[in-house]
Subunit: 749 residues, 2 copies
C-alpha cells in the first residue's frame, strides 16, 4: 500500500476510459457502459476494444495510447493475464487513477499472487492509485457516476460505504433497492493491492473538511428537493475482512467519528472464520479482542452481525443519534411493549419516566383503559389519530430522548395512516423515532410509507431498540471525547510536567534497560528471567519488592535477616514462565527454620523438574530467587503486547490466581494518558476489588495509574521488547508492588 | 384455575353458539361468523342475538336457553357487564366449553378484577372450561374451525401455538401469511381466568397419545396431499406473559419435549418489563433466572427475542433438528461465508471438516478457484447446477449434520433455479438445510420458492445458524434425557436404597429440626442464628465444624483447648446475616493470647454495632460463637430458596468472598437426583476450582454431591423453611464442611 494519495480525481472523473468495453450487456464491460450511462455521468466515456468500432454510438479506441486525451480514470475489465500490460500503457499515457475489476489474483493462490505483485510493481512505478483488483468498482452518487458492473440503486442519500467484498456489496444494493435507502458514495475494495480503506477514509475526511464544498452543496440541493430537510451527518459503514495498517486506520476512524458515525462489520472472531478468510481473500485475522478495543477507542460501532450492519445503515442514515438514554415506547399492544421494556434495559437504555404533566395530557387523548406509564399502551383499537395525539405529547417532552413506535395489525388498525402520523411527528420534532410495524404481511404497506418519511422501521421492536442503543453509544463517545479534550487541556496546565518527567526518566534509564536486553540478546535468549525483568522495571522506577538471586540457603537467610521475614522463594530462569504450576513459588516463609526446610524441598523439585525430559518448558538454567514478601492486597495484571496490526497494546485486569477464573481483560491500543488509564482501570472487574469490596476501604489508585503509565511508556520506547507483563501487581495499604515480571524479546518470535 | 379438564370438545365442537352474533362484518360477532364459515367448519352454527331474526341465512335465537340443542361450544362476544348473566344461562343449558372475547376485566383495574372474580365463580359453579376473557379465541385447522375474530391464515401445518397476547397472535398471523407457514392449532389465552397454558398442553399431550388418532390421520392426509412428506413432529410455540402453576407447567413441558420441540418467549427479564406487565395484564414476573433454569430442565428452548420466536416457528415446523453439531456452509460469496464461520463457532456448533473423499468429489464439480474447505465457496459465477452438484456431495456425507446455503445476488446468479435445487436436495436427503438468500429485493423470488419446498430461509445467515443451534440444543436434551433415563434405571437397582436411607434419616431427625424451628417461631423470630442453622444441618448429617456459643473468653479458650487451634470467632444473632461486612468474623486465631486480644476487639465492635442506631440490621441479640477452623480449600455456596411459582429451587456456585465477584449461580428446580446434582456442579464456574485448578489435584466431589442432596431433601421436606443457605461450604483434603449456615422461616415473609 502506498502513502495517502489524493483520490478526488478517481471519484470525480471528468473522463473515463473503459478497457474491455463490450456491446454485450451481459458482459462486465457491457454492464459497466450501461451503468455509466444510466447513472447520468456527464463526462466523456471512451470505450477501448481492439475488435469494435462503435458501441452505443460511442467511438471505440483500439488501445489506451490512441485515446484523444489523458482520461481522468481508466476502468479495466479484461482477463487478469492481460491487465499488467494495459496498466503500463495507462501509466505511459499519464492517467493516475485506475479501477481493475478482473479476478484471478491472490485469491486463487500462488500463481495469482505473483500476478498481483507485478501489478503492484507497475502501480509503484507509475504512481497509479488502483482500486481492486477483484472488485466491483465504486459509485459516487454525488457526481453522479456509477463505475460498477453491479445492479446499483440510484437512490441518493447521505451514507458512505466501503465493502471489501463484492458479494456483500451486491446484497447491500439489493437490500437498498427494497428499502428505499440511498447512499452518496459506495466503494468496493477487492484485494486492496494499492488503495485500501485508509486511503478512502482519508479522502472522505478531506472532502468533509470542505475542500469539495461544491459537491456537498449539490448533495444538499438534492436532499432539499426531497423535502425532508438536510441531514448533517455522513455515516460511514464498512465491511472489512482485513485491516491493513491498524494504527493509521484507528486514527482516521477516530477523526471521522468526531463528526460522522462509523460502523464496521469485521468478521474473524473465531478461529474457524480466520481459516475461512485465509482461503478466501488472504486476509489474516489479528487478535480480535485488540480490534474490538481499538474500534471502541476510535468511537466506531462494531456490528455483531450482518443484520446489525443493515439496521445501522438505515438508522444512522435516517435518524439522529439520541442525546440521552431515555426512551418511550408507544404501542397498540401490551405483549410487544413488555418485550420492548426488556430490550431497552438489556441494551443499556432507560425507560423514560412519564411525569405528571405528560400523564395528565395523555389522559385527555387516550381512553381510560390505556396505560399511561411507559410503555404507553394506546390500546388495540387505536386509530391513526390516537397515535398522532399520543406521540405529539410524548415526543415533545424534553425528558424523552427517543421514541419507539410499535404497531400490531389488529382488525381496525389503520396501518398506512398511522405510518403517516409517525412520519409527521418525526419531521415536526426532529427527535429520533424508530418503528416496528409487526407482521410483515399487511404491515408492509405501512413500512413503505415510513421509508418515504425516512423513519427507520424494523421487523421486530428489539432490533429498533438495539439500533438506538448503538447510536447512543456513538453519541456517548463523542460527548466523552469532547469532555476529555477539555480535561486534557486543563491537565496540560497543571500536571503535564509530571508526565513529561516520566518521559525524561525513561530516557535517562533507557540505557540500563538496554544493557539487560543486550546481554540476553548476545546470549541468544528471547526470554528474560524474573530478576532481569525486575531490573528492567526498575529503570522506569516501578516499585518492586527487594529480592536477591542466591546460590545457598545461607545467602537466602542472610537476605531474610536483612529485609525481615516473611519471604518468598522462587525458582527463576528463562524457561520458568509458569512457575506456580510446577510448584516453583513458595510464599509465607516465616523463619530461618522454615526457610531451610523449604529450601531443601525446592532443591528436590528443581532436580525433579530438570530431569523430567517431557516437560520441555521447565528445563534450562534454573536459579533461586528470594524476595521480601509483600503484604496481602488486591492482585492485578498489567502487560503490554505488540500486536502485528495495532502495535503495542496494553492489558489490565484481575491478576494472580484470579486471572484465569475471572475473565477480566481490558485492552487499550497505546498511547494512553492518565485519564484514559484511570477509566481503563475503573472499567475492569478488578476495580470491584480495588474500590472497597465487601465493605473494605477503597485502595488508592494513584500509584497503580502511575505504574500502568510507566509500563506503557517503557513498552512504547523499547521496540526490542515484544511482550512485557507484571503478574501479580499487588495493591495493598503500603503501596503498589510489581511482584513478578515477564519479558519476551522480539528475537524470540 | 381448575384442575385438568378434557378440552377435546372445546377444540373439536360439533355445534357452536355465537352470543353477540352480528351481520355487521366489522363487528367482532360478525367477523367471527365469517371466520367460522370461511374456515370450512362443518358443524352447526347458532347465532344468538335478541335483535335479529336471520343472519347470512342462519336462524337467529334470542337467547341461549332457546337453542334447539345443547351446543358443544358457546362463544361470547358482548360487552363485559352482560357476560356473567349469559354464562349462568350457558351453565344451566348444559354447555361446558366457552370462549369469551370480551375485554374489560382485570386488565383495566379494580372494577374489572371484581367482574373477573364473579366470572370465575360462575365457571366453578357450572364446571365451565372458559378460554379468555380478553382473548382472540382459537383456531383448529385440523378439524377445521376458526373461532377467532382475527385475520387468520388458512395454511395448514404441524405447528401448535399458544399466545397469551392477542396482539402477538395478530402479528404472527400476518407474518405466517407472508411466509407460507401454517399451523394445526393456535390458542390465545387472554386473561387465563379458567383455562391456562397447562390445560392446553395437557390436552395436546393427550391428543398426541393417540386418543385422537382420527384427527392426526386427517392431518397426515392433508400433509400428504401437499406432497412434501409427513412431518413427524408437532412443535409447540408459546408466548406467555405469566406462568400460573410453574411446577405443573414444567412437568407438562418436559413430557411434551420428549417428542415435540417446545419453544417459549416469556418477557420479563428486566424490572422495567415486569412493571409494564403489571400494568398490562396483571402478570407478575417471577425471578427470571428460575424460569430460565426450569425451562432448560424441561428441554424447552427459551427464545431471546420475537425474531427468534418467529425464526424457530419456521425452523422447527419445516426442518428436523440436527443430530450432531457439524455444519457445512455452501456459499457463492466469501464474505458471508466468513461471517457464517464466526456465527457457527459462536453458537456452539462446529464447522464440519471436509474429508479427502468429499474434497476429491468436489474437485470434480467445482472450478479450480473454488474453496474446498468448509465454508465451501462455489464462487460468484455459480449457476444453480453448480449449487446442486456441490450440495449433492456435501449433504450426502454422513459426517455432516446440517447444511447452510448462502446466496448473494450477483449478475449471473439464478435465484429461482438455485432455490429449486436446494429444495430438491432437502427432500432427497431429509437432512436439515437452512438458507440465506441475502438482499431481499431480487432474492425474494427465491425465498418464495424455498417456502414452497419448506426449506427455512432467513434474511441473514447468522439467523439460520442460530436457529440450527437452538434446534440442536433440544436434540441434545432429548439425547441426555434418554441416556439419563437409562442411568436412573440402573441406579434404581444398585443405589436406590441409599437415597431412600437419607429419606428415612430425614424423617428420623425431622423432629430435632422441627424443635429448633418451633422455638424460633414461638419467639416470633423469622431468622435462625448460625448456631441454630448448624443444628438444623446436623439433623440431616451434614458435616459442620465443631463450635460452641460462649459467654466469656475463658469458655472460648477452654473450647479451643479441647478442639485445638486455630479457631474462628464470630458474632451471631438473628440480625447478623452479613457478619463479614461488619467485621463480625475473625479467622486464624492461633493461640490463647491471640484469642484474648481478638475477644476484646470483638467486644468493642459489638458495643459499637449495637449502639449504632442507623444500622438497623446489625442490632438485636448478639452472641459469640467460637468454631474450630477448617483448613483452606475451595469455598462454594449451596442454598435452597422457595420460589412463588416453581417451589423450592436449589442454587450452587462459587462461595465465600468469590461469590460476589464471579457470577456463578447455577439453579435447579427441585427435586434433584445424584446424577443431576453432579451435572449441576460440573456446569458451574466453581467446578474449575474443584477440578484441579492450576495444576492442583482435583478434589473429590462425592461428599459435596451428598451434601447438596441432603440439603435439597431437607428443604423439600420442611415447608416451614423459606430459605436455607450454606456459605461457605469448604471442600478441602479432609472432606466437605458446612462452615456457616443461614435459615429464614416462612413467617419472616
Amino acid at each position: 500500500m502506498m502513502g495517502m494519495s489524493d483520490l478526488s480525481k478517481m471519484f470525480n472523473p471528468k473522463s473515463i476510459a473503459v478497457v474491455g468495453a463490450s456491446r454485450d450487456k451481459k458482459k462486465i464491460g457491457g454492464i459497466l457502459l450501461k451503468n455509466l450511462k444510466e447513472s447520468g455521468f456527464a463526462g466523456k466515456v471512451y470505450p477501448v476494444n481492439p475488435h469494435a468500432r462503435k458501441i452505443d454510438g460511442l467511438k471505440v479506441y483500439s488501445d489506451v495510447m490512441s485515446l484523444p486525451e489523458v482520461p481522468d480514470l481508466v476502468v479495466v475489465a479484461i482477463p487478469a493475464q492481460f491487465v499488467n500490460e494495459v496498466l503500463k500503457m495507462v501509466g505511459e499515457k499519464g492517467t493516475r487513477d485506475v479501477v481493475v475489476f478482473s479476478a484471478g489474483y491472490k485469491e486463487i493462490g500462488e500463481e495469482g499472487k505473483k500476478l498481483e505483485e507485478e501489478l503492484k510493481e507497475v502501480c509503484r512505478q507509475y504512481q497509479i492509485n488502483l482500486v481492486g483488483p477483484n472488485c466491483l468498482g465504486f459509485v459516487n452518487n454525488m457526481l453522479p457516476v456509477n463505475v460498477t458492473f453491479g445492479q446499483v440503486v440510484k437512490n441518493k442519500g447521505n451514507l458512505r460505504f466501503i465493502s471489501q467484498s463484492g458479494a456483500i456489496a451486491a446484497a447491500i444494493f439489493d437490500w437498498f433497492a427494497g428499502n428505499g435507502l440511498g447512499f452518496s458514495e459506495f466503494v468496493t475494495l477487492g484485494n486492496k493491492a494499492v488503495v485500501g480503506e485508509n486511503e478512502v477514509l482519508d479522502y472522505w475526511l478531506e472532502e468533509t473538511r470542505n475542500k469539495k464544498q461544491e459537491t456537498r452543496n449539490k448533495a444538499e440541493e438534492i436532499e432539499k428537493k426531497l423535502g425532508w430537510g438536510w441531514s448533517d451527518v455522513y455515516p460511514v459503514g464498512m465491511y472489512l475482512e482485513s485491516i491493513v495498517e491498524g494504527r493509521k486506520f484507528i486514527e482516521l476512524v477516530k477523526e471521522t467519528s468526531k463528526k460522522d458515525p462509523v460502523f464496521v462489520l469485521k468478521p474473524g472472531k473465531s478461529k474457524a472464520a480466520a481459516k475461512a478468510m485465509q482461503s478466501h481473500t488472504g486476509a489474516i485475522a489479528g487478535e480480535d479482542a485488540v480490534l474490538d478495543a481499538a474500534l471502541k477507542q476510535a468511537g466506531a460501532v462494531r456490528c455483531v452481525s450482518l443484520e446489525e450492519m443493515f439496521d445501522l445503515s438505515r438508522a444512522f442514515s435516517w435518524e439522529r443519534a439520541p442525546k440521552g438514554p431515555n426512551v418511550v415506547v408507544v404501542s397498540n399492544a401490551g405483549g410487544p411493549a413488555v418485550i420492548s421494556a426488556d430490550a431497552i434495559t438489556e441494551a443499556g437504555l432507560k425507560l423514560a419516566p412519564i411525569g405528571r404533566v405528560i400523564r395528565k395530557r395523555l389522559t385527555e387523548v387516550l381512553p381510560r383503559a390505556a396505560s399511561l406509564v411507559n410503555p404507553v399502551d394506546v390500546l388495540g383499537d387505536a386509530l391513526a389519530e390516537r397515535y398522532y395525539q399520543a406521540l405529539d405529547i410524548v415526543v415533545a417532552s424534553p425528558k424523552v430522548d427517543a421514541v419507539v413506535v410499535i404497531l400490531t395489525p389488529q382488525v381496525m388498525t389503520q396501518i398506512e395512516k398511522t405510518a403517516m402520523a409517525v412520519g409527521e411527528m418525526s419531521h415536526k420534532y426532529g427527535k429520533p423515532i424508530m418503528c416496528s410495524f409487526m407482521g410483515g404481511g399487511h404491515t408492509e404497506r405501512g413500512e413503505k410509507i415510513l421509508n418515504r418519511y425516512r423513519v427507520p422501521a424494523f421487523e421486530y421492536p428489539e432490533r429498533a431498540i438495539r439500533a438506538l442503543a448503538r447510536m447512543y453509544e456513538w453519541n456517548q463517545w463523542r460527548q466523552s471525547e469532547s469532555s476529555e479534550h477539555n480535561e486534557v487541556v486543563s491537565m496540560t496546565n497543571n500536571q503535564a510536567p509530571i508526565t513529561k518527567q516520566y518521559q525524561n526518566s525513561n530516557d535517562q534509564y533507557q540505557n540500563e534497560a538496554g544493557q539487560v536486553v543486550a546481554t540476553a540478546t548476545s546470549e541468544g535468549r528471547g526470554v528474560l528471567d524474573s530478576k532481569e525483568a525486575e531490573e528492567i522495571l526498575k529503570t522506569v522506577r516501578i516499585r518492586v519488592p527487594e529480592s536477591m538471586v542466591v546460590e545457598t540457603c545461607e545467602q537466602a537467610r542472610e537476605f531474610a535477616g536483612r529485609v525481615g521475614y516473611p519471604v518468598v522463594l522462587k525458582m527463576i530462569g528463562e524457561k520458568m514462565l509458569h512457575k506456580t504450576e510446577v510448584g516453583g513459588v513458595v510464599t509465607n516463609i516465616g523463619s530461618d527454620g522454615e526457610l531451610g526446610k523449604k529450601w531443601e524441598e525446592m532443591w528436590k523439585r528443581k532436580l525433579q523438574v530438570t530431569s523430567d525430559k517431557l516437560q520441555e518448558k521447565t528445563q534450562g538454567d534454573i536459579k533461586f530467587l528470594v524476595q521480601k514478601q509483600v503484604n496481602r492486597g488486591v492482585e492485578v495484571i498489567v502487560g503490554v503486547k505488540r500486536d502485528a496490526n495495532f502495535g503495542p497494546v496494553l492489558m489490565f485486569g484481575a491478576g494472580g490466581t484470579m486471572a484465569e477464573l475471572i475473565r477480566d481483560r481490558n485492552l487499550w491500543v497505546l498511547p494512553i494518558d492518565k485519564e484514559e488509564t484511570r477509566r481503563l482501570i475503573e472499567g475492569s472487574k478488578a476495580y470491584k476489588l480495588l474500590n472497597g469490596f465487601r465493605g473494605e476501604e477503597p485502595y488508592s489508585l494513584d500509584e497503580l495509574v502511575e505504574l500502568v503509565e510507566k509500563l506503557a511508556g517503557l513498552a512504547e520506547s523499547s521496540p526490542e521488547i515484544s511482550d512485557i507483563e507484571i503478574n501479580p501487581v499487588i495493591v495493598n495499604r503500603e503501596g503498589t508492588w510489581a511482584v513478578d515480571g515477564k519479558v519476551l524479546l522480539q528475537i524470540s518470535n
